[in-house]
């Protein structure tokens, strides 16, 4: 970090955010890396998002979480991804009789074969969602240019060819979610290639600092697993983003990146001083399976 005192970014910015520093509880001596035979990954994903005004509680926006069942299955040329929507994040509405009624998710399932077609979206009735037809678009009272911009999202009458998604058929991607001890060295190498040598320690974490233009990035790394536990980003000396990551023992001796808590400033005031978007992502029931 570039402040004169050389204090860690999180201190220099004097922000009012509570900083949770998770501890890695796995017994690293007995933790082998994930086996290479698995071909199915599943997890329950919960996303909690809220906008917090300065001085208010995180629950201020009162919106329920969005929940998915996330599955990636090795299928031929790549990983087929399916996300089933378990909760749309929509609050119940009040009926004329005063009762609360849940809103069924419009999108029930997302599928992506990992090929050139791109994701497909399905409704609760199992049918694939499509853009309104061009005949209907003219009746909607919304400019056609609006729909033109959405053509890349849903197919209408003609499905445009889509580029390949670049998803690799290997299993390396799992290290972002289930970091293994085997890959510790590779992670440390990438870290030092990106940030150079550690700038010392802070609260028992290795501290790395890098700069891009006016942005300064501070990363606190668990020294045993070489995984990030905290990332702070300042723009022109003002903290704009603060993220912490929590880990728990995962399947096959790995760690699982169980949670992330990210606060991003929504205006030009320092994070914590103005309004900010708070996003919590939690993974539960993370499993690797071998399916024949």
């Amino acid at each position: 970090m570039s402040n004169a005192q050389g204090k860690p970014l999180v201190v220099a910015c004097a922000m009012a955010l509570a900083i949770a520093v998770p501890s890695l509880r796995a017994d690293v001596r007995s933790a082998p890396g994930p086996q290479d035979h698995w071909n199915r990954f599943t997890a329950d994903v919960t996303i909690r998002r809220s906008v917090v005004q300065a001085g208010t509680e995180v629950t201020a926006s009162r919106t329920p979480p969005t929940m998915y069942r996330w599955e990636r299955v090795l299928s031929g040329a790549g990983w087929k991804t399916t996300m089933e929507v378990k909760g749309s994040g929509r609050a119940a509405f009040v009926t004329p009789t005063g009762a609360l009624q849940e809103v069924a998710p419009v999108v029930a399932r997302i599928e992506d074969d990992g090929g050139d077609e791109g994701p497909r979206f399905y409704g609760a009735d199992g049918k694939r969602l499509r853009l309104p037809s061009s005949a209907d678009r003219g009746k909607m009272g919304v400019g056609d240019e609006v729909f033109a911009s959405a053509d890349a999202l849903l197919p209408a009458e003609v499905a445009e060819p889509r580029p390949g998604t670049g998803a690799a058929p290997g299993r390396d991607w799992i290290d972002a979610i289930l970091p293994s001890l085997d890959q510790r060295g590779a992670r440390a190498e990438r870290l030092q290639r990106r940030f150079g040598l550690s700038k010392g320690t802070w609260r028992g974490r290795d501290r790395y600092v890098g700069s891009t233009g006016e942005d300064t990035i501070e990363v606190l790394i668990d020294p045993t697993w070489a995984v990030p536990v905290e990332i702070n980003v300042a723009h022109a000396g003002t903290l704009r983003s603060h993220a912490t990551f929590g880990y728990e023992p995962g399947p096959r001796g790995s760690m699982v990146r169980r949670s992330s808590h990210v606060e991003r400033s929504l205006d030009d005031t320092p994070a914590g001083a103005g309004s900010r978007m708070v996003t919590d992502v939690e993974l539960a029931n993370v499993q690797l399976e071998e399916r024949r």
Binding site: S149, G166, I177, V219
Partner: protein, 507 residues
């Protein structure tokens, strides 16, 4: 000579009759439009009602953006010469204009439709709603910025994949701000906005005079409309209700798509690749606003709580139902009805029912209430849609809030059937020869009264006030009962739909 004089006198009498009769019988009804509208919004309904009822329809044109007092002044300038028997029908803000007008012009009746009698919460939330959409716009911009920071070699496939979803987010934000500010005129600087927000001094003063209105306006009706799927579609439902559902699907799909791509990036990116991580969370941020687009519009028009902490309450797409209630007036509730912008065209039946049931307006050409159309519709008259239509208050009918006490009865128009509330507590329908056709089977309970309740339920109460029989038709305010000429005892909704029948037609 004498012969010629008599003939002249007859001609004069006929002429006077021909000219004088409509003016003597036609009741002036002034239809007043609301925000971002004009007299044309009432054209279809006003013309139709004038053909069907003995009314002379007038359509007002007021400067809806001005203060309510100013609009009331316009009303008085143009319609001040109408007699005190005039009835005012106001839609949306027009209902408040009508109420204001009663301070300077006596009225025989007043009907409000979709009127923010307790305020329009959207006026409280203009800044919040604009701010929400600005945040959506910014979130989309940040996500695009995140796309530009990606390593193209590794993430070349991402920009094209998320572009559609982000553009859709920008489009709906742009539309909803323009729609609110430009099309609906909801800007703080607009005079009426300063008067119609929930809790405004103007509304407090106007509503403190409701007792005065009750004492000085013989008949008042508030038509309270809750639109179908009012919780879905955001402002698109107001703009184009037929396609709001599809637009809502697109918004939800875009939100789900952004979540999906965010997880693709999170799964495939190095946790230390800050640019990729930043993009992923940027996509999640943008998705947040899109997931909540419908919900937060609903909250913004529901009540005056901050939209972040509010709830989606029943509304007509613009005005919440709780605010449409006109205190002390007869309430006709419409559930699953049209959106605010279509109420003048689609709630004509309710205006018809209000005029005929509660304001004693007669159907055109009806010297007296006609007898019923056996098996279909008894009230006589022509319906707004051109067929037979019910109208309470005719022979053999019970209007909302009317009661029969022990020993009381109602007789069909042709005198052949009688509904008798007996001293033994039984409500019985008899044929003229004394044969019972139907009974509530409540004999043995002390007789209290039989009420055609305001909520649409026909209820027999015993002397202790305990309900002992009910038709189960509650939830249909304005419903009424009739003993038809065909021997059927029927409860009709305010719009003329049969809700319950004794099944004794043709007896």
């Amino acid at each position: 000579m004498r012969h010629a004089f008599v003939r002249f006198a007859i001609v004069v009498v006929l002429l006077l009759g021909a000219v004088g009769r409509p003016f003597a019988q036609e009741q002036p009804v002034v239809f007043i439009h609301g925000v971002a509208s004009g007299p044309e919004t009432w054209a279809e309904t006003a013309d139709r009602l004038q053909r069907q009822l003995e009314i002379s329809a007038h359509r007002a044109e007021v400067s809806w953006w001005n203060s309510l007092e100013s609009q009331s002044g316009e009303m008085q300038n143009r319609f001040g010469g109408l007699p005190n028997s005039t009835i005012a029908v106001g839609h949306s803000l027009g209902g408040l204009v009508a109420r204001e007008w009663t301070r300077s012009h006596e009225l025989d009746g007043l009907i409000t439709i979709g009127t923010p009698n307790r305020g329009a919460p959207i006026a409280n939330h203009i800044n919040e709603w604009v701010g929400f959409n600005a945040s959506l716009f910014n979130a989309v911009g940040n996500a695009f910025y995140g796309l530009s920071g990606l390593s193209y070699d590794r993430w070349w496939w991402v920009p094209g994949a998320v572009e559609g979803a982000l553009n859709w987010g920008a489009s709906i934000a742009d539309f909803s701000i323009a729609h609110l500010l430009l099309e609906l005129g909801m800007q703080y600087s607009t005079p009426f906005v300063q008067e119609v927000y929930v809790g405004s001094p103007y509304l407090n003063a106007l509503n403190s005079g409701e007792g005065w209105e009750a004492a000085n306006i013989p008949s008042r009706v508030g038509i309270v409309s809750t639109a179908s799927e009012y919780w879905r579609g955001g402002p698109f439902r107001l703009k184009n209700p037929d396609y709001a559902g599809e637009l809502s699907i697109l918004t939800s799909t875009a939100a789900a798509g952004l979540d999906y791509w965010a997880f693709r990036v999170l799964a495939d990116a190095d946790p230390l690749d800050y640019d990729a991580q930043s993009l992923a969370y940027g996509l999640l941020d943008a998705a947040f606003y899109m997931w909540n687009f419908d919900e937060f519009w609903c909250r913004a028009i529901s009540d005056n709580r901050p939209i972040w902490a509010g709830s989606c309450l029943p509304n007509d797409g613009f005005i919440p139902s709780w605010s449409q209630f006109y205190a002390g007036a007869i309430t006709l509730e419409v559930n699953g009805g049209p959106v605010h912008t279509q109420e003048t065209r689609q709630l004509g039946d309710y205006v018809y029912a209000s005029l005929t049931n509660f304001m004693h307006v007669r159907e055109r050409g009806a010297e007296a209430p006609e007898s019923g159309d056996p098996g279909t519709n008894p009230g006589g008259g022509t319906s707004p849609g051109g067929g037979r239509s019910p109208a309470a208050g005719g022979a053999g009918s019970m209007s909302p809030d009317q009661s029969i006490y022990a020993g009381g009865s109602i007789q069909s128009g042709n005198g052949r059937f009688t509904l008798f509330y007996q001293g033994d507590g039984n409500l019985v329908l008899y044929r003229s020869d004394g044969r019972p056709l139907w009974a509530s089977q409540t004999n043995g309970r002390s007789a209290g009264r039989t009420v055609m309740q305001m909520d649409g339920n026909l209820v027999v109460y015993d002397a202790g006030g305990t309900p002992v029989w009910a038709s189960g038709t509650n939830g249909y305010s304005g419903a009424w009962l009739i003993v038809q000429d065909d021997g059927n005892l029927v409860i009709y909704s305010a719009s003329g739909a049969p809700l319950w029948a004794s099944g004794t037609s043709g007896s």
